[in-house]
């Protein structure tokens, strides 16, 4: 019946697309629909833009597909029929809803249900919510197995990316076979490893059949058969048919006359011939082979004692590939047959696929370095250095002394990292064009090697900041547009800013002076000394010079300085840190020490206590070496996110989280955060999600249970549980070594093969002479003249030859 259903369905896919099944509802028909209790997928829109137009086309196609599952696809034009709640929704246009009756089963971003495959897969997955189990961890899968043992078999689908055709194929199969088998869907790589997949990095969808029904004891594991073909409706159907077929078919006919389901499904068949005297042994062999080849090859055991079997006795086995004749052979061992099938007969198609994949990176002429490749793809672009002055040996000295600030980039044209950075560098130059006293320049070290050596540049790219009358300052920040731009603008602020009255201090911390540079950084650091004669002042000033461009640093050396630390448990000299107006100041005592120690202290106190981690600031925080308490919040700034942030922030002041680095990642601003979650857990949990990552100690990752409310006290309890080993890690950060990504091209091996003696060391007897012309050495030197050779060579004149 299933087959009929499936085939019918396939026809419907191809044939019925010409007329639309998409229903347009008025408010009245919508109300009626709500009362029927049927399942429907509804989109509310009010106008059409190109994106929506594409979506409507996909929606229309999905109407045909979903009809087969009894789900109607509906659109409502809100400009005509404004349906309460849905048409007034803020997210109108970008959402679609799945109803059962009047109940909303789920809503979808139209980004998620972007095409027909995505719509069908997501809708079916929601409808089948109770039938298809969703698991993230091997433990969850084991629970499902335990429940299914002796009861039903399990179909496990690993779908790395939801909404693609593979996902749809699995959901459709689940709809058809859902009552027969327990369906399990997983997206995580943990389950993948559990199922014995070595290379979990590939994003290929996979499927396994777990034979749980036939398990004799509860303690036995369910044997599994992987599906080797790509995940699509036909292949899944074929595979499930094969799983149903008997392991070994016994027959009394010649191979060409045996009819097994495998032949109809386009699967090779292996025939084994059995003698009456060895029947039991042969049956056992057939069973073993069948288990090994399950899902790929059908096994038939033919009893020779039947007169219908006419195969010559010299053969004991045969096989038949689809659309081919039976081939007979003599079998010596079971392994041989498995090998024959796995390595030869079944490889044809697979080889091609693998080659494509493998060869891609091992092809020596394809760049596998993201920076090199992206720069290489720009090779037809002329480098536009208009706003950057190219310096030469003749102009270098004059240029760097001419401007208030000359920023100089030292680069190589052939270095991809330099050329990637130079794009950012010109962006900065363009942005700063017209800023007085700032000049951006560049030195091509491939040409002006003398300048680069003179300036002691040994690392590329390097950015040095020159000011008249002072030594060049090395730019130590991120090599990116934002960071460098900010650095240069901050460099224009004198460091430290000398403040002479409390009023100026006030302005520096939150007044006019503050607002002048607030767009660069909200943090202000102030050195407080009781007088300018304080010994620490010079050291602090030097630290200020070193931090120029990185920090806005004030210096208040005045008798009034005392006021600013009054009532705080700190004496002068002190360091006052402000993270912006409204945030309470922090105060640290400033022991007299070297400028570099001051620098280290200032850099440390500047750090946020609950930072938003971004690509550009992570290194500052990782340096602390603490386990991360990492909150991931979604793209949309929802109240949930704000609440979660506040909940974590709450215990900060009490110092209960001091052994951690509490921080957060905003997936909208830092989309790579999603990949981090996925790598940590193998799936992306609902957001906001709280994760503890012990990067430096053990590498375990713990997930705050999504079902528990994200509240300060729960979080503290959870941390407590984690520390007491009462929580299971949800993932493990690998400690793999980063070896060579691709094997190198072994010239020595090639030499040895193509010119065997070329690269071989000489034997000990060989003369040690170099490549000199030995003929010369053989000649007698003038002093050791010999006359004896005359007689040896009576035809001497002939010796003189004109070559």
């Amino acid at each position: 019946m299933c087959i009929v259903y499936l085939i019918a369905f396939l026809f419907s896919l191809t044939a019925e697309q010409c007329f639309s099944k998409l229903i347009e509802d008025s408010s009245q028909s919508f109300m009626e629909r709500m009362s029927t209790g049927k399942t429907s997928f509804v989109y509310f829109g009010n106008h059409v833009n190109p994106t929506i137009k594409l979506f409507m086309e996909q929606l229309e196609m999905s109407a045909d597909a979903l009809e087969d599952y009894g789900i109607s696809v509906v659109k409502v034009n809100c400009s005509k029929d404004a349906i309460a709640n849905y048409c007034t929704e803020e997210k109108l246009m970008t959402k679609a809803y799945l109803f059962r009756g009047s109940e909303v089963l789920r809503n979808f971003d139209i980004d998620t249900v972007f095409d027909v495959n995505a719509i069908v897969s997501h809708v079916l997955f929601s409808v089948l919510f109770n039938e298809v189990r969703y698991v993230h961890t091997p433990a969850e899968l084991l629970r499902v197995e335990t429940a299914a043992k002796q009861n039903s078999d399990i179909v496990v689908g690993h779908i790395p990316v939801l909404g693609l055709p593979e996902h749809r194929a699995l959901m459709e199969a689940a709809f058809v076979y859902g009552t027969k088998y327990q369906f399990v869907q997983t997206t995580g790589s943990l389950v993948l490893k559990h199922m014995g997949v070595v290379d979990s990095s590939s994003s290929q969808a996979r499927l396994w059949f777990l034979h749980c029904k036939g398990v004799s004891r509860q303690s036995d594991p369910c044997p599994s058969t992987p599906m080797t073909k790509p995940l699509n409706t036909i292949n899944i159907h074929t595979f499930l048919q094969l799983m149903e077929a008997p392991l070994v078919t016994e027959a009394m006919l010649d191979p060409s006359e045996v009819d097994v389901v495998h032949m109809h499904l386009g699967v090779p068949v292996l025939y084994l011939f059995s003698q009456p005297q060895t029947q039991h042994l042969d049956q056992a062999t057939a069973q073993t082979l069948a288990l090994q080849l399950r899902g790929e090859v059908g096994v038939v055991l033919i009893h020779r004692n039947s007169p219908n079997v006419k195969t010559p006795l010299k053969y004991n086995a045969a096989y038949r590939l689809p659309q081919e004749d039976v081939k007979y052979f003599t079998l010596n061992s079971g392994e041989e047959v498995v090998k024959l099938f796995k390595e030869e007969l079944l490889q044809e198609h697979k080889l091609e696929d693998e080659e494509e994949d493998e060869e891609h990176w091992s092809d020596p002429d394809i760049l596998d370095d993201e920076v090199s490749e992206s720069v290489y793809r720009d090779r037809d672009l002329m480098l536009d250095l208009e706003s950057v002055v190219e310096l030469t040996s003749d102009t270098f000295q004059t240029t760097v002394t001419q401007n208030g600030i000359t920023v100089v980039l030292f680069y190589f044209k052939w270095d991809a990292v330099c050329m990637a950075f130079i794009q950012s560098y010109t962006e900065v130059a363009d942005a700063l064009e017209g800023v007085n006293g700032v000049q951006l320049a560049a030195v091509n070290c491939g040409e002006w090697t003398d300048i680069c050596s003179d300036q002691n540049v040994t690392s590329f790219p390097t950015v040095l900041i020159y000011r008249p009358m002072s030594a060049a300052q090395l730019y130590r920040g991120m090599l990116g547009t934002k960071s460098l731009h900010r650095f240069i603008l901050l460099s224009l602020v004198s460091s430290p800013t000398h403040l002479s009255s409390s009023a100026e201090v006030k302005s520096f911390l939150e007044g006019d002076v503050y607002s002048k540079h607030v767009y660069l950084t909200p943090v202000r650091v102030l050195g407080l000394f009781s007088s300018t004669h304080d010994k620490g002042v010079t050291s602090f000033e030097e630290a200020g010079r070193l931090l120029r461009g990185e920090t806005i640093l004030g210096l208040f050396a005045h008798k009034e300085a005392e006021q600013w630390v009054e009532g705080l448990s700190v004496n002068l000299p002190a360091l006052l840190v402000s993270h912006g107006p409204g945030v309470p100041y922090e105060v640290y005592s400033l022991p007299s020490s070297s400028p570099t120690d001051h620098v280290a202290l200032i850099q440390r106190v500047e750090l946020d206590h609950f930072p938003e981690l971004t690509v550009e600031n992570l290194p500052w925080y990782l340096e602390l070496g603490k386990p991360l308490l990492l909150l991931f919040i979604g793209k949309e700034d929802s109240t949930e996110s704000t609440k979660a942030l506040a909940e974590i922030k709450q215990p900060l002041s009490s110092g209960q989280l001091d052994s951690f680095l509490p921080c957060w990642i905003h997936l909208g601003r830092t989309p790579v955060g999603r990949s981090i979650l996925d790598k940590y857990l193998g799936f992306v949990p609902p957001l906001p999600a709280l994760v503890m990552s012990r990067l430096k100690t053990g590498g375990e990752v713990f997930l705050f249970p999504p079902e528990r409310p994200l509240m300060a006290k729960n979080v503290l309890q959870w941390i407590h549980d984690v520390e007491n080993r009462q929580e299971q890690p949800a993932g493990l950060i690998p400690d793999g070594k980063w070896g060579p990504p691709v094997p190198f091209f072994d010239f020595l091996a090639i030499m040895d093969q193509e010119a065997p003696t070329y690269a071989a060391q000489r034997g000990p007897k060989t003369k040690t002479g170099r490549r000199e012309d030995h003929r010369e050495q053989k000649h007698v030197t003038p002093n050791q003249r010999q006359t004896s050779h005359t007689s040896q060579n009576p035809q001497a004149p002939r010796q003189h030859s004109e070559l």
Partner: protein
């Protein structure tokens, strides 16, 4: 600067030498008799004595002066480079003085400037003196004078050292040099840069009838209508032939080995194309020619007009030189068993033409000229101070160790042309453009041995190694000129490495002693420039290789990297594969020869090099954008090296959306826009455009 058999000291001076020697012996007698009045008994002591103010001597003088060492350069003539006042006889230097390279890289430009000496003064280049591609020989001593005076080098002119003996200075061997005035110089270290200037001679019957290259007239008119036999087939022989090509009636060149063309052998001491006009007149049958045969077997005899049975040669005898009779080349074995002095009685039967009627050299010559090059002057060294004769180069050179110290003469180093025995007929060590670098290398060895200053090394993080190698490969002149002889050594030390420039490769087993740089258990890399197998026709098809996977078959100069886990031993070095500069390594990487000598292309040069380095270092050396490093830093306990040495030190390479898009389209950077990867049409067509472009460039224009 190349000139075969170049020498530093003027040939004429050899005549005066015995006189000086006599004077000195006299003065020594006087000195020993206790007379303090004579100037000869002065004794001066220096840490370093440099013998000879030629290019090598001045070059060493510069380095000693820069490191503020106590040194003196002793020169018997009144100015530097006096060899070049006489040689080359026809006054044209054949060393390339290429001023216009299209580049402003000073290091790179030295690859094409064969005359300048090294200094930190960028204006002290030879091009200040001459702008000719092949300059006049007079310009070279002028250049040397300028070099000496502008750098204020300490040269003592007019000090003719007649005798050198070894002596014990506080337990180590030093040298005492005595000049013509009896002044003795006590030298802890002696640097011999006297060049090669004694004309090489071969003893055969009648060699007294032969004129030498050193004294032949250079006016072509003197050769008018003369038949000339030149012994030798090197540059001086061809240079001489070329100068008289328009006057002489017939020029034959005779020597044991066939002509070796520099453009075929890549050895600048072989015949340079600038001197090879005679090859033309030979091959186009214009009465000139080349003949091979042993020099030791021949005899040159004069047949007087009345000495033989002459009947028919009257006309011809009138055209020959004024009544002196003509010279015949014959073989010692054909002369009657008398000794060679009796050549006046030469008869027809003593000549090869009598026995073999078509003998090539049967016609008489008006002149026979010897152009056999020069040899080192061993005569000034006392037994204990004398380095042995080299095994190669017909014993014309002093034998030296791999670090240019005389064999058996500790603390005596040989510099310049005289030190060519190590790379004779292989590389450029006998020529200014080569030995200026070996002199620098020797100076670094001196600094380590006598002052404990280790070989200069640049400390680099491993993530910078690849770009540093590419920089050297694309500009360094030392390894380029001294190919196969000097190479850069990279001592691997885990997360960083030390980069030593231009170390003498043959001395690799003694690396630690000579450089003061110990080896770690991470092994070492050696970067060498070398020519290839050279088994194909130099101008024929297939001479150039452009496929990087076949780089080891490159024929032209190209960079080669050798990787050793442990330092090769001397035995390894002795038994190295035939034609190799170094023993078989644990891994080797050839960078494919490049028509433009620019090894900077991402697919053919950089990436293969990176993969080789990755193999040697057993680490991933790929570069990553900050975003990838962010991901890897949070999801891997040890992120890749590039992230550790860049991003995590706050120096990440951020890039921009445009570059990320490229990387994402190439599948190298993850897309994080959610669990859905929309594929739009534009990205595909973009990809195809690039893929198409990559296919086009496999054409080989180097054929």
């Amino acid at each position: 600067m190349s000139f075969t058999g170049a020498a530093v000291v003027d040939g004429l001076m050899s005549l005066i030498q015995p006189l000086f020697r006599l004077l000195c012996v006299l003065s020594l007698v006087l000195a020993s008799s206790g007379s303090g009045l004579h100037g000869c008994n002065n004794s001066v002591s220096h840490e370093y004595c440099v013998l000879g103010a030629g290019p090598a001597g001045l070059q060493m003088g510069y380095f000693l002066s820069r490191s503020q060492r106590d040194y003196i350069i002793l020169e018997r003539n009144t100015g530097p480079g006096s060899f070049f006042h006489r040689y080359p006889r026809h006054r044209k230097l054949i060393s390339i003085n290429k001023i216009y390279t299209g580049r402003r890289n000073k290091e790179f430009n030295l690859r094409h400037d064969w005359n300048s000496l090294l200094s930190d003064r960028s204006d002290l280049l030879f091009q200040r003196i001459s702008r000719e591609l092949y300059p006049n020989a007079d310009d070279f001593p002028r250049y040397l004078s300028m070099f000496e005076s502008e750098l204020g080098l300490k040269v003592k002119y007019g000090a003719d050292i007649g005798r050198i003996k070894a002596s014990d200075f506080n337990g180590s061997q030093g040298y005492v040099l005595t000049d013509q005035n009896g002044v003795s110089y006590q030298c802890s270290v002696l640097l011999v840069s006297t060049g090669l200037w004694v004309p090489q001679q071969v003893d055969f019957l009648g060699s007294d009838l032969v004129e030498g290259y050193e004294s032949i007239p250079t006016d072509p008119e003197e050769f008018k209508d003369q038949a000339v036999l030149i012994l030798g087939k090197g540059n001086s022989a061809f240079e001489t032939a070329q100068s008289i090509l328009g006057r002489a009636s017939r020029i034959h060149l005779y020597s044991p080995s066939p002509v070796r063309l520099a453009w075929q052998t890549h050895y600048v001491g072989d015949l340079r194309a600038i001197n090879n006009e005679l090859l033309d007149t030979y091959q186009l049958k214009s009465l000139d020619g080349l003949v091979e045969g042993r020099l030791e077997d021949i005899a040159i005899v004069r047949r007087e007009k009345d000495g033989g049975k002459r009947r028919t040669a009257k006309k011809r005898s009138q055209t020959s030189t004024e009544g002196k009779g003509q010279l015949y080349l014959t073989l010692t074995e054909l002369l009657d068993n008398q000794n060679g002095n009796n050549i006046s009685k030469v008869t027809g039967q003593n000549l090869p033409g009598y026995h073999t009627d078509n003998f090539s050299l049967r016609q008489p010559y008006d002149r026979v000229i010897r152009c056999l090059g020069f040899r080192f002057n061993f005569s000034i060294f006392d037994g204990s101070a004398q380095p042995p004769q080299s095994s190669g180069a017909r014993g014309r050179l002093p034998g030296v160790t791999a670090w240019y110290e005389g064999r058996g003469t500790p603390n005596l180093f040989v510099l310049g042309t005289a030190a060519h025995s190590l790379d004779y007929r292989m590389s450029a060590g006998g020529f200014v453009h080569g030995f200026r670098y070996t002199v620098r290398a020797v100076h670094k060895i001196l600094e380590q041995r006598y002052h404990n200053i280790a070989w200069p090394a640049t400390k680099l993080p491993i993530s910078q190694l690849q770009s540093w190698i590419l920089r050297r490969v694309n500009e360094a002149s030392g390894p380029y000129q001294m190919f196969g002889v000097l190479g850069d050594i990279i001592l691997l030390r885990g997360s960083y490495c030390e980069y030593l420039e231009e170390f003498p490769l043959q001395a690799l087993p003694q690396l630690f002693a000579l450089s003061g740089r110990p080896l770690s258990d991470h092994g070492l890399l050696v970067l060498v420039m070398q020519y290839g197998l050279n088994r194909t026709d130099t101008l024929g098809p297939g001479r150039a290789e452009s496929e990087w996977t076949k780089a080891w078959r490159s024929n032209f100069l190209h960079p080669v990297l050798y990787y050793y886990n442990t330092l090769p031993t001397e035995k390894d070095m002795r038994q190295r594969p035939v034609g190799w500069p170094l023993p078989r390594p644990d891994a080797v990487h050839h960078m494919v020869e490049d028509f433009l000598t620019e090894w900077d292309q991402p697919i053919s040069h950089s990436q293969p090099l990176r993969r080789f380095l990755e193999h040697c270092l057993q680490t991933d050396l790929r570069a990553f954008y900050a975003e990838s490093c962010f991901l890897l830093s949070l999801t891997s306990r040890t992120p890749p090296l590039f992230c550790r040495q860049g991003y995590l030190r706050k120096q990440g390479i951020v890039g921009n959306g445009h570059l990320w898009q490229h990387a994402r389209e190439a599948g190298l950077m993850a897309d994080h826009q959610g669990d859905i990867t929309p594929r739009d049409e534009t990205s595909v067509s973009e990809y195809l455009k690039h893929a198409g472009a990559a296919v086009v460039s496999t054409m080989n224009f180097d054929l």
